[in-house]
């Protein structure tokens, strides 16, 4: 029997890790992630979850411990945010290069300086080239559902990559919402048991992991990760559809979600919780007879270029919202990726919500009226004070 609990995003992530029956959790507390690993520590301490909880002295160590655990064949979970994710940076490459299907919740938070604990997506965007699959969820229910799917995706033999599930700090991590929690039985039937075929610890079958990759083979290993990313697109869709059929909840096609796109000339492209606000604006405008669409990028790496190009084929004005900024080019990452995919359309970039700046309904309305008259390739910072 599933049940509905009114919980925060971090609790939803902890519930998902418990349902996935993880073997090892290694984590260091950092705002706004802390309550996730607190909850997991509680589950382990009171016997609800049979797992090793490794308390480490930094996020670098947390990811190192997860890599070690995953390399033995254990199902592994961790969670972090912002500076913590940045501290993990070099280990993220190792997890991906060794093809270890670690799942991580990241609470999206701005990076210093100045010190800022509030939400934007600069932290995970800065890790986009590490070889991790990246999801950006819209609400707490999707957090739970995506973490369950993440284990299936990461552990799939055509993929074997670590997966990062990003949820907006405070906006989701600390806001309570009703979340349907599947029964242990149904969740276990869906997630299944991880049977590692490539990385394991078995004295009868000794292997060497993390070896030197000389120039004669390194390039091929990077190419193999790229192929795995390519494979992941299909796997993500399949597992999403299987989940949707079983649990009656779906998120577009797993990679992207289209909202009111049929008759819309103006389309907003965005990631994460802001899509909830955008949907609200779209509904209000629809009542007034104006059609605006939303293309939510749920999976950012691998980048679903074909799906995005197909979804935007009839759009005239495309507004890309970025909660991050690539300094020195005055563009956000999502815009840059999308502009290289959709070349013959008008695409305008909006830098929004950095460091927890609210993105209000009026801001979305302003973007919609601006994009209709803006020039292709423009960048506008929304809510910037003079």
């Amino acid at each position: 029997m599933c049940k509905v609990k009114v919980i925060t995003g971090t609790s939803a992530a902890a519930e998902a890790a418990k349902l996935a029956d993880v073997d090892v959790i290694a984590a260091y507390p950092i705002t706004p992630q802390t309550t996730c690993v607190e909850k997991l520590a509680e589950f382990v301490a009171n016997g609800e979850l049979d797992a090793e909880f490794i308390k480490v002295e930094s996020e670098h160590s947390a990811m190192s411990a997860c890599i070690g655990a995953s390399a033995t064949g254990a199902r592994t979970f961790t969670a972090t945010a912002s500076q913590g994710l940045a501290l993990m940076h070099e280990m993220l490459f190792i997890a991906a290069g060794m093809r270890l299907p670690i799942v991580m919740m990241n609470a999206n938070r701005a990076l210093s300086a100045p010190i800022n604990i509030w939400n934007d997506q600069q932290d995970s965007i800065s890790q986009r080239d590490t070889g991790w699959i990246q999801f950006y969820v819209e609400d707490n229910q999707e957090t739970l559902d995506t973490i369950l799917q993440a284990y299936r995706i990461g552990e799939h033999e055509d993929v074997l990559l670590p997966v990062m599930v990003n949820l907006d700090g405070f906006i989701l991590t600390h806001t309570v919402e009703p979340v349907t929690i599947p029964s242990e039985e149904n969740a276990k039937a869906f997630v299944g048991v991880y049977e590692p075929k490539h990385a394991y610890l078995d004295p009868d079958r000794p292997i060497t992991q993390g070896c030197v990759g000389v120039p004669e083979c390194y390039m091929e290993t990077r190419y193999a990760v790229e192929k795995a990313m390519e494979n992941a697109k299909k796997v993500i869709k399949e597992i999403h559809d299987e989940f949707a059929e079983k649990f009656k909840r779906s998120y577009g096609n797993g990679l992207i979600e289209e909202y009111n796109m049929e008759n819309a000339d103006t389309v907003i492209v965005a990631m994460g919780s802001v899509c909830g606000t955008i949907k609200e604006v779209i509904d209000r405008l629809k009542e007034k007879g104006k059609e605006v669409g939303l293309l939510r990028v749920r999976c950012y790496r691998p980048f679903p270029a074909e799906d995005i190009a197909k979804a935007l084929k009839d759009a005239e004005n495309i507004a890309v919202l970025d909660k991050n900024i690539s300094l020195g080019i005055n563009k956000g990452a999502l815009y840059l990726d999308l502009a290289s995919t959709v070349r013959d359309k008008k695409v305008v970039n909006y830098i929004v919500g950095l460091g927890g700046r609210d993105i209000r309904i009026e801001d979305i309305e302003k973007i919609i009226s601006h994009v209709e008259v803006a020039k292709d390739g423009e960048t506008a910072w929304i809510g910037l004070k003079e």
């Binding site: 093809r99 270890l100 074997l160 490539h198 060497t208 193999a224």
Partner: protein
């Protein structure tokens, strides 16, 4: 053919993957001067110095030319030459 995660499933892959090509300087052992003190054998970080029937030889397939052996030899039985000369 690179395996998933560049994992090595068979022991002894270093027999195929020779690493001596990195060498810039080549240590040369003069067997007549050698007093068989084993210093070079003990200090070699690559295990590239072998003792066979009481005689020491350098395995150039794996010697990377760090020249620790040259430095440690108490009787200067090991000298260096530039590779390719």
């Amino acid at each position: 053919m690179v395996t998933i995660g560049a994992i090595i499933y068979e022991p002894g892959s270093s027999i195929r993957n020779k690493t001596g090509s990195w060498r810039v300087f080549r240590p040369i052992l003069d067997a007549d001067k050698c007093i068989k003190c084993e210093n070079c054998y003990i200090f070699c970080p690559e295990g590239a110095i072998q003792e066979v029937d009481g005689k020491f030889t350098i395995n150039y397939d794996y010697c990377k030319g760090c020249l620790i052996c040259v430095n440690e030899c108490p009787v200067n039985a090991i000298t260096k030459v530039r590779e390719g000369k």
